[in-house]
């Protein structure tokens, strides 16, 4: 979190308010290319709002955010580089898994959209159900399609909001492989989750968010995971 030069996602004192409630309150963070920031926090901490601001769906109320060299809220060029895994699937039930992913690939202007779709579905090990309408898929399989959808254009920035929700062991393994793979190819990942073990397993950096603020930041390298997890549980317990 210290090396700011060349960072892909940077925010400085970023805030987003709804009326008088500060959902995101002065968040400063930086995620370099090739790094994964695991962002923990209790319900209502503002994690989702932060991701929605970074994905361009919400406007920051104050403060600064940039992705690459472009300041948010940016235009199409910036949205092209970001992949969003939301806690909604962003899928159309009536269309098949392949149609959904292919539609997204074309929205993002992927030139060889057929091959890209094939690759994205394959990475999430859902090719065998590609021709099934999403309506007929289970929650976990839908989540796999949703992840394939979010990564079909090989994004340089991945904003993942509770991406493990509903996934079985196989799906979770596929997602972990995918996120690590994208990271090794230079993507910056922000991974929002409640699950400390899952998150720390993938993270190069970790932070805890509470009431709109980043309250703890740490590099996981050299960090005692048990200590971090304890601190997090302590914090959530205080909140409740």
């Amino acid at each position: 979190m210290t090396n700011e030069s060349g960072a892909v996602v940077v925010t400085a004192n970023l805030s987003r308010t709804f009326g008088r409630r500060k959902a995101v309150d002065g968040v400063t963070l930086a995620v370099d290319a090739g790094n994964t920031l695991a962002l923990f926090g209790p319900n209502g901490a503002g994690k989702t709002t932060l991701l929605r601001v970074l994905s361009g769906l919400l406007k920051p109320t104050s403060g600064f955010a940039r992705i690459g060299d472009t300041k948010l809220p940016g235009g199409p060029e910036i949205r092209r580089r970001v992949g969003v895994i939301s806690h909604h699937t962003l899928l159309y039930e009536a269309l098949t898994a392949r149609e959904n992913v292919e539609f997204t690939a074309r929205l993002y202007g992927v030139r060889d959209f057929r091959e890209a779709t094939e690759r994205a579905l394959g990475r999430m090990r859902i090719l065998d159900r590609a021709e099934t309408p999403v309506r007929a898929l289970s929650r976990g399989l839908r989540q796999r399609v949703s992840i394939a959808r979010a990564t079909v254009h090989e994004p340089q920035v991945i904003l993942a909001d509770e991406p493990f929700t509903g996934l079985d062991i196989l799906g979770a393994a596929a997602l972990s492989d995918l996120l690590n793979d994208l990271r090794h190819h230079g993507a910056a990942v922000i991974l929002v989750t409640h699950n400390v073990d899952e998150g720390l397993a993938l993270a190069t950096h970790a932070a805890i968010m509470d009431r709109g603020r980043i309250v703890v930041t740490d590099e996981t390298v050299g960090l005692d995971k048990q200590t971090f997890a304890d601190r997090y549980r302590q914090l959530v317990a205080q909140d409740g």
Partner: protein, 226 residues
């Protein structure tokens, strides 16, 4: 510009594929249209009002209400799994999203018209023989007007607490300057007058189309948070 239209077509094709798979809105709109034709017949004193005088009004009342069924579906299919967020987070221009939705709605309304107009002719015993082409032209002009405003209001209505209940309230006043000219022009044609007699009405329709297609396309991005 080319890119905006290409993306719009992509989104329209997606919407039409969904509609074609589920056919829910189209069939309800169609059944609604046919029921409307039948109910109007029984509410009608055929000794006092001739079929030619009644038919244009029936047609345009039916198109406005069945069109609204389709337009409501337009943005409500985006709601359950927040497909709209996927569109908004993608690099496509906001204008493309609006135009794509409007285009799919236009196909929907024209398809309803293609069934309803011959049905009215059949049920009410009206010969459409030589007027069907200008009639189709009027129907298309009017459909463009209905769809431009209806699509925008549908995008707004789904995000309100009243949802689909708000759509007719918002759109019907805007449909007035479409329905009056369309029904009047239809009446002129059906009573055997030349197309030129409806010239003033057609100009009004065309002007409405131009103004509101442009205004609604430009207005849509302003409804979004950016």
């Amino acid at each position: 510009m080319v890119e905006v239209l290409r993306d719009a077509w992509l989104i329209a094709k997606k919407d039409l594929a969904i509609e074609f798979r589920t056919r829910s809105a189209f069939f309800s709109a169609l059944v609604f249209a046919l029921l409307g034709i039948v109910i109007f017949y029984f509410a009608w004193d055929s000794s006092a009002v001739s079929a030619i005088d009644l038919a244009p009004g029936v047609l345009w009342v039916i198109f406005t209400f069945s069109g609204m069924l389709g337009m409501h579906r337009s943005f409500s299919v985006e709601q359950p799994d927040r497909g709209i967020d996927g569109l908004l987070a993608s690099p496509v221009a906001r204008e493309s999203i609006f135009l794509g939705k409007a285009l799919a709605n236009l196909v929907f309304v024209v398809a309803v018209q293609a069934v309803a107009i011959p049905s009215v002719a059949l049920f009410y015993g009206l010969p459409l023989g030589n007027v069907w082409l200008p009639l189709a032209g009027i129907a298309l002009l009017a459909a463009i007007g209905l769809v431009s405003v209806g699509t925008l209001f549908s995008a707004m209505a789904v995000n309100t607490r009243l949802a689909e209940l708000l759509l007719p309230m918002l759109s019907l006043p805007f449909f007035v300057p479409v329905v009056i000219p369309a029904a009047q022009a239809t009446a002129k044609l059906m009573s055997g007058r030349p197309v030129g007699d409806a010239g003033a009405w057609l100009k009004l329709l065309l002007a409405f189309d131009i103004v509101f297609v442009v205004a609604c396309t430009l207005a849509y991005p302003f409804t979004l948070e950016e």
